[in-house]
Structure formats: C-alpha cells, structure tokens
C-alpha cells in the first residue's frame, strides 16, 4: 500500500474510547459481581484494553488478576507470510485451570486471532470459562466466534483496514478506518 493513496476516516476519539471501555467495565461488573476474574490481553493493543478496564474495575472489585498472551506461534497463516512478526512473551502469572478468563482485544475481525488465543489458553490449562471483550467489532467473521462485550460495532468491507492507537504505545489516540482511495474510487 502506498502512503498517498490512503484515506483516513475517524471512528472514535480518545473520549469515545474511554467511554466505551468504561461501559464494557460496567457490563463485566454486572455479569460477574463476585466471580474471581482473570483478564488476558492479546498482544499488542489488547493488552492496553485489558489494562484500562482492569484499572477501572479494581476500585469496585478486588478479585482480579491480569496477564497477556502472544498468538504468533498459533497463527494458521504462517505459511503465507513473507515477513514474520517477532514474538512477545506470554505472561500468565496465575493458574488457568478452573479460572474464569476474559480475553481482550482491540479489534475483532475474522475471529482467527481469538481462535488462536483460545488454543494458547487451553495449552496452559482448562479454564472454567472464557469470555471475549473487544473495543471494536468490525464484522466479516470467518469463524463462529462472538464477543460477550463490545465497545463499538461498525460495518466494514474486508479490504478496509481498521487501526487503533493508544497513548501508551502510539503518538496519538483514536480509532480510524483506512481506505485505499484508488480502490474506492
């Protein structure tokens, strides 16, 4: 993709993101007022989503642990990748066996990342339950996977690109839709 031909449409700004994440937090609290929860963010930006929601909830409920996981080694498309991502450490400093786990990611698209994440988790043990929370659900699922908590739902085509930026690792904060304008016109 060449830079100049990209058009960038704004979807969420910083305020919207915080609002959506707080709403997810209150839904989680509603669903699990007492159950001990394990928050697991998927690298890279799912970890930030998990952290932020964790920080909101820690005021109201204490029984929570958090971790992160990398799904690179569980991808189903490695054969086709000409470049390969570096792997980050999966950090799950608690017992997965019997835990109620909530997976966090920024954008839910084909569902393949989530499929991989579920496989990683089950290699650590047998969780009592796995739920899924995402900031953006952009449709176009290729697997029968549905989120339990969704911040924002948008209709997209497969060719569009949704990207999220967070202060923690990016220069700015917001969610954007990138379209190759040549293709669109």
């Amino acid at each position: 993709m060449s830079e100049p031909s990209l058009s960038k449409t704004h979807i969420l700004d910083e305020k919207d993101i915080n609002h959506k994440l707080r709403r997810i937090a209150s839904e989680i609290l509603e669903q699990h007022p007492k159950t001990p929860l394990a928050f697991v963010g998927i690298h890279t930006r799912g970890v930030i989503v998990a952290d932020r929601i964790y920080n909101v909830l820690i005021e109201d409920r204490k029984e929570m642990v958090k971790g992160s996981l990398d799904i690179s080694l569980y991808r189903d498309d490695l054969d086709n990748l000409g470049s390969i991502p570096s792997i980050k450490n999966s950090d799950l400093p608690f017992e997965i066996e019997g835990a109620t786990v909530i997976l966090f990611d920024d954008v839910l698209f084909t569902g393949r990342t989530i499929r991989a994440a579920i496989n990683v988790l089950t290699d650590y043990g047998r969780p009592a339950k796995i739920e899924l929370a995402v900031l953006i659900d952009r449709g176009n699922r290729e697997l029968p996977i549905a989120p339990n908590y969704t911040g924002h739902t948008i209709q997209t085509s497969k060719k569009e690109h949704i990207c999220s930026h967070f202060h923690e690792i990016d220069d700015e904060e917001g969610v954007y839709k990138l379209i190759n304008s040549e293709r669109a016109s």
Binding site: Y74, L81, G82, S86, I87, G125
Partner: protein, 328 residues
C-alpha cells in the same frame, strides 16, 4: 488480524552461514529465542507452529547433541521429525548427494538440517531443493546455529555486547565453531582474541583477531568470556601438538588458571561435548559463571526461533533427472 507490527522480519529460505545474515537478523533471532525459552516453563511445552511440516535431520557426520537439539526444537514446534542416519542409509551403498536429495524431495520434506564433513555441502543441497536448509556444521566452514545460540547466551549475561572481549581457545584452524562464532562476534562489535597451539592458529587470520601465545598475556588482555573449543580428536590424524596432557597444561583451564578465572569473574563457554581434563578441569563445570548448560538450553530455543523464521520455497527449483550428475 489488524495488528501492525513494526518488528516484522523478512524471511529466508535457508540458513547456511553467518556471513550472509545481517546484524538485524541475528538480533531478531536472539530476541525471538527468548519467548521460546519461556515456553519451556509451561506445562504444555509444545506449540502448533509447524504442525504438519516435516523436518529431516540429514547427518553425514556423527552428532548427538546438535541432532537432539534440533529434534527437540522441531518437536516442540509440532513438526514431524525424521532422522536420516548415514551409517544405515544408501549413502554407504554409493548413492550421490544429489540422488539422496531427489529421493528426500519426493518425500516432501519441508526442512532439512544438514551436517557434512565437506565444506559447502549444505549450500549445494540448498540450491537443489525447495526445502529450507539449515547448516548444522559443514567441514571447516560454518556452524551458524551454534554462533546464534552463543550470541543469545552472551546477551543474557551482557545486555550490551559492544566492546566486550571474548577469548577463543583451542584449534582455531579446524574449527567451524570458531569461524562462525568469531564472525558473529565481529558483526556485533565484540573484540576477539585467540589462543592455541601455534600449529592450530591460521596464519591467514583476519586482522581483528588478537593472537596470544599464552594465558599470561591473554589474561592481561582482560577477557570477559573464555570460549573453549573442543579438541577434536577424531579430526587430528596429524601431529599438531605432542599430547593431550601437554595441551591441557598449556591451553586448558588448570586449577591455577581457574583461580584467575574466578577472581576476575570471567565467564566460561564451550560448544560441547567437553573433554574433562583436557580443555578444563572438573571444577569448572560447577562454577557459577560456567555457561555450558545454559548454552544447551538456549540451543533448543534458538533453533526453534530459526525454524519459525525460515520459509521453505516453492516446489519448483529443479526437475529431477535432467541435469548433469557427478557434482557431488
């Protein structure tokens, strides 16, 4: 998957030597090896990355630890591993390398780990197969996976490797390990010294190698690491030095030298297998700064990272039985 990872690395088909890979690629492999090591602490040590892929250990030369290390690495990535051991194969019946490769190609092998006593054989095989070829040691030429795992081990001890000093001791002339390790160290800005019998130090060594005549001058150079090479008894038919005992007295870590090693806090490395009483005395093996066992553990993680990185080519390199034979 909408992740954009700035740390993506372009893949290669083969890993044949250290000269042809870049510092960035070495860094990438070292960085990637670390999460693999973390996997070993899990209850399930396997990941499905290479599920359905087949890895062939093609060893024309005896090896236990390198072969086992590759075998464990491949199995932890869920690949199927076949060991092709030469003593039981058609090679002893006179089959050429090219014919063997055609046969193995027909079996749809994805990765070939090759060790051979002749330099350059892995390169030759790589040109003639779609499978990814990893050089596991060829003649006096190269042993790239050893160099990368040693870099990883060094990096665990010294996060910044620039201007660190490594003293390589032993048979520099015949050692592919010395060649690959020194090339790798050179690329990463590590200073290299060599020490060994005059007959086993090549005259044509590169300028950056500081050459020492004995341990006294070598210790005065203040090395951070001493890298002992294995005395390859099986390769030394000619008389390069008088006896094992003399080698130990002159170039081994003796009790006296071990005292200096301890007081200076020098790390000890060795590619294995160790000849106790020749390269080093027993006590060195339990020394807290002896990295030999760490090297073995890191070997598996590094080889997993390498298998993860390489990408087998398309099955169209060459048609069998149409080219001139006899190259092998």
């Amino acid at each position: 998957m909408t992740k954009q990872d700035p740390e993506k690395k372009k893949r290669r088909k083969d890993l044949l030597d250290i000269d042809s890979i870049s510092v960035e690629e070495i860094d990438f492999l070292v960085k990637t090896a670390q999460p693999f090591k973390e996997l070993f602490t899990r209850s399930v040590k396997k990941v499905p990355t290479l599920r359905g892929k087949s890895v062939l250990n093609l060893f024309y030369e005896p090896s236990t630890r390198t072969r086992t290390s590759f075998e464990i690495a491949a199995k932890r990535l869920s690949a199927d591993v076949t060991n092709f051991s030469v003593s039981q194969s058609s090679v002893v019946k006179g089959e050429s390398i090219l014919d063997t490769i055609d046969t193995l190609q027909s079996m749809k092998v994805d990765y070939m780990i090759v060790r051979h006593s002749e330099s350059g054989v892995p390169n030759f095989i790589a040109q003639n197969t779609h499978a990814s070829v990893i050089n596991a040691g060829d003649g006096y030429h190269a042993h790239p996976t050893q160099a990368i795992l040693d870099t990883y081990t060094l990096k665990e001890v010294f996060p910044d490797l620039t201007r660190k000093k490594i003293l390589i001791v032993g048979d520099i002339l015949h050692s592919r390990v010395a060649r690959s390790v020194s090339t790798c160290c050179r690329k990463l800005g590590i200073e290299i010294g060599v020490l060994g019998p005059g007959t086993l130090i090549p005259d044509s060594r590169p300028d950056y190698m500081e050459c020492f005549k004995d341990y006294a001058t070598a210790f005065a150079w203040n090395p951070d690491v001493i890298y002992l090479l294995r005395l390859q008894r099986e390769r030394q038919q000619a008389y390069f030095f008088p006896s094992m005992r003399e080698y130990h007295n002159l170039f081994g870590i003796t009790s006296n030298r071990f005292e200096t090693v301890k007081s200076e806090g020098i790390y000890i490395m060795h590619p294995g297998p160790v000849n106790r009483g020749v390269e080093l005395i027993d006590e060195v093996m339990t020394y807290e700064r002896c990295l030999i066992n760490q090297q073995v553990e890191n070997g598996i993680a590094t080889r997993m990272a390498i298998l993860y990185w390489l990408q087998p080519g398309e099955n169209k390199i060459r048609k069998p039985n149409t080219e001139i034979r006899g190259k092998s």
